[in-house]
């Protein structure tokens, strides 16, 4: 994702200005659908959300009036929003760390030469292919106290049946487990691509120089994979901050609002309470977090890459 500049040569050695003008017009015509589509469906409504966040706006109360920063003041005193913010961040941090570490391990596994490797790669992709809503809904059943798969295994080992979705801490754990189950595959596939990009000759050279497996990993794999691992960490952090479906289907933010996340708070406030103004201010808080991760990540990544 680093090279933004177009280095390729232009298509035509244009002989006249009119040809050049034609070419530019054609180019604008070709990019217009994508650009206008995004303008209409994201840029414009985003600005509208920003404006809404300064309003007391509710279709049920038939209200739409400017109230300045009141929504934002309420936002930071709202215990539910605070809880959602805390869980959004802690869930993201924990889930991302687990997924990056496990993703690296699974990528190593999938990169080995053995019979059935392609089948294993396909199996790895299955959780990625299932809809988040299917996994979340099935998850309520898998974590069922009496007949759930998870408790059946735990019960066979320890004779106990923990309450998963009723207790705040274990509900949080269940959310992380489901998220890791679904999304590690994606990370692993990308890391696999990275591992495959490392030339086998480097490892051969390392072997000849007498480096053992661990040393080869430390001095060849780690430095070559580091930029990819860092950029993926940022990338999936943004995805995790926007987690919605698993929460919606598995816990509905509960018990209480222990597993509520900001995206879910936007949904509840916007489409259950129909409080558009306040919901918009929560959405802006979510946007600021995405933006911070993006910017910090970008700066951090540049520095890390330039140091290599």
């Amino acid at each position: 994702m680093s090279g933004v500049t177009t280095t390729s040569r232009p298509i035509a050695r244009y002989r006249s200005t009119s040809l050049r003008t034609k070419q530019i017009l054609l180019a604008y015509l070709l990019v217009a659908p994508v650009v206008l589509w995004r303008m209409f469906t994201t840029v414009y409504p985003f600005i509208a959300t920003l404006l809404l966040s300064f309003q007391d706006n509710s279709p049920v109360r038939r209200k739409a009036e400017y109230i300045g920063l009141t929504n934002y003041q309420n936002l930071f005193q709202d215990p539910r929003v605070r809880e959602s913010l805390t869980f959004t961040l802690s869930f993201t941090a924990i889930s991302v760390v687990i997924q990056v570490l496990m993703g690296l391990g699974i990528a190593e596994l999938l990169n080995r030469r053995f019979r059935g490797r392609n089948i294993l790669r396909a199996i790895n992709l299955l959780p990625w292919a299932i809809s988040g809503i299917v996994i979340g809904t099935a998850g309520t059943w898998i974590f069922n106290t009496d007949y759930g798969l998870v408790n059946d295994i735990i019960w066979r080992i320890s004779g106990q049946r923990p309450l998963w979705l009723v207790d705040p801490n274990s509900a949080k754990l269940a959310v992380v487990m489901i998220d890791v189950w679904k999304n590690t595959a994606f990370v692993a596939v990308i890391f696999l691509g990275g591992l495959q990009g490392i030339s086998a000759e480097l490892y051969e050279a390392g072997k000849i120089d007498g480096a053992n497996g661990l040393q080869r990993y430390r001095y060849i794999t780690v430095p070559l994979m580091l930029p990819l691992v860092l950029s993926m960490t940022i990338f999936i952090s943004i995805f995790r901050v926007l987690t919605f479906e698993i929460i919606y289907a598995l816990t509905a933010g509960g018990p209480g609002s222990a597993t509520s996340v900001l995206s879910y708070a936007v949904y509840l406030e916007g489409f259950r309470v129909l409080n558009f103004g306040y919901a918009s201010s929560i959405a802006m808080l979510l946007f600021v977090i995405v933006l911070i991760i993006g910017i910090v990540g970008f700066v951090f990544l540049r520095r890390a890459v330039s140091r290599l």
């Binding site: 994702m1 994508v34 589509w37 985003f46 059943w141 007949y147 990009g197 919605f244 946007f287």
Partner: protein
């Protein structure tokens, strides 16, 4: 020498054990949902669970298909997934081609702007879109959903095509141009054939994303005209003999299977293309 061999053997066992654990963690929950859907009556619901039941039946599937408009949901889902993936493919290919090959002022701005716009997730745009859709009469319509499905696919698809097109050497196109090929001929006879594998991959990934979409229909689809299969899961839980515990979970599992089998088949069949597609989006 023996020590070395034991080490090798031990490593082999460790590796096999890890693979087995990995496969079990992925397959077991999926198998469990299949069981819940196919086991007849309350037979699964025992302590400990019965993992190898004897009586299997389709009763949950018939219940669900009889009482919910599953086929209509399926039609809507397929229509949305196929058409959004196709539209995204077409317009992103053209845009990416212009960005890479037609040297125009602002090409980089378009590319960076697209990527930046993906920092604006649906949660930060959905409320004004909801208001807009109500006044434009796009609520509960397939075309309304289609517009938003496509929107979500545009940044990544364009980005991936840009990286694919950059990999095509200029010389190939130069040679064709010397032969007198014009822009559209060049695109049709040179670029598109070379990009075909990438196009298949992006179509598959976007199709799966469209198939699995939930948040957009949750907000904008209200009735049978536009509801999709991912919305049928919660409906299935309250269908038929809704007082029976085992029936609710069985129905839910049956719909979960209907909503998942198509993407499973695609994934198993096109594992390589999908794997390439995911990593090419991130690495290049």
């Amino acid at each position: 020498m023996t020590g070395f061999q034991i080490g090798k053997q031990g490593r082999r066992i460790l590796f096999g054990g890890l693979v087995l654990l990995f496969v079990l963690i992925i397959i077991l929950p999926i198998y469990y949902i299949f069981l819940t859907a196919f086991v007849s009556g309350p037979r699964l619901f025992t302590q400990p669970l019965t993992y190898f039941p004897t009586n299997l039946s389709f009763e949950r599937f018939t219940t669900v298909l009889d009482s919910l408009p599953i086929w209509r949901y399926m039609f809507n889902t397929i229509f949305l997934a196929v058409s959004s993936a196709l539209i995204a493919l077409l317009i992103c290919l053209l845009a990416a081609y212009a960005i890479v090959r037609l040297d125009f002022p602002g090409a980089n701005l378009v590319l960076v702007g697209l990527l930046a716009s993906s920092m604006l997730p649906p949660f930060t745009t959905v409320i004004p879109l909801f208001q807009m859709y109500q006044s434009l009469k796009l609520m509960n319509t397939l075309q309304g959903l289609l517009i938003l499905y496509v929107s979500g696919m545009l940044p990544v698809t364009t980005w991936v095509f840009v990286s694919f097109i950059r990999q095509i050497p200029n010389e190939i196109e130069d040679a064709a141009r010397v032969d007198g090929a014009e822009f559209w001929q060049l695109l049709r006879h040179i670029t598109i054939p070379l990009l075909r594998p990438g196009m298949v991959t992006m179509f598959l990934i976007n199709f799966i994303a469209g198939w699995n979409e939930f948040f957009i229909p949750l907000i904008f689809a209200r009735g049978i005209e536009s509801k999709v299969i991912t919305m049928a899961l919660s409906e299935a839980q309250s269908v038929g003999s809704s007082t029976q515990f085992y029936q609710n979970w069985g129905n839910m599992s049956a719909v979960a299977i209907l909503a998942t089998v198509p993407v499973f088949l695609l994934t198993l069949f096109f594992q390589r293309q999908i794997t390439d597609g995911i990593s090419s989006g991130a690495i290049k």
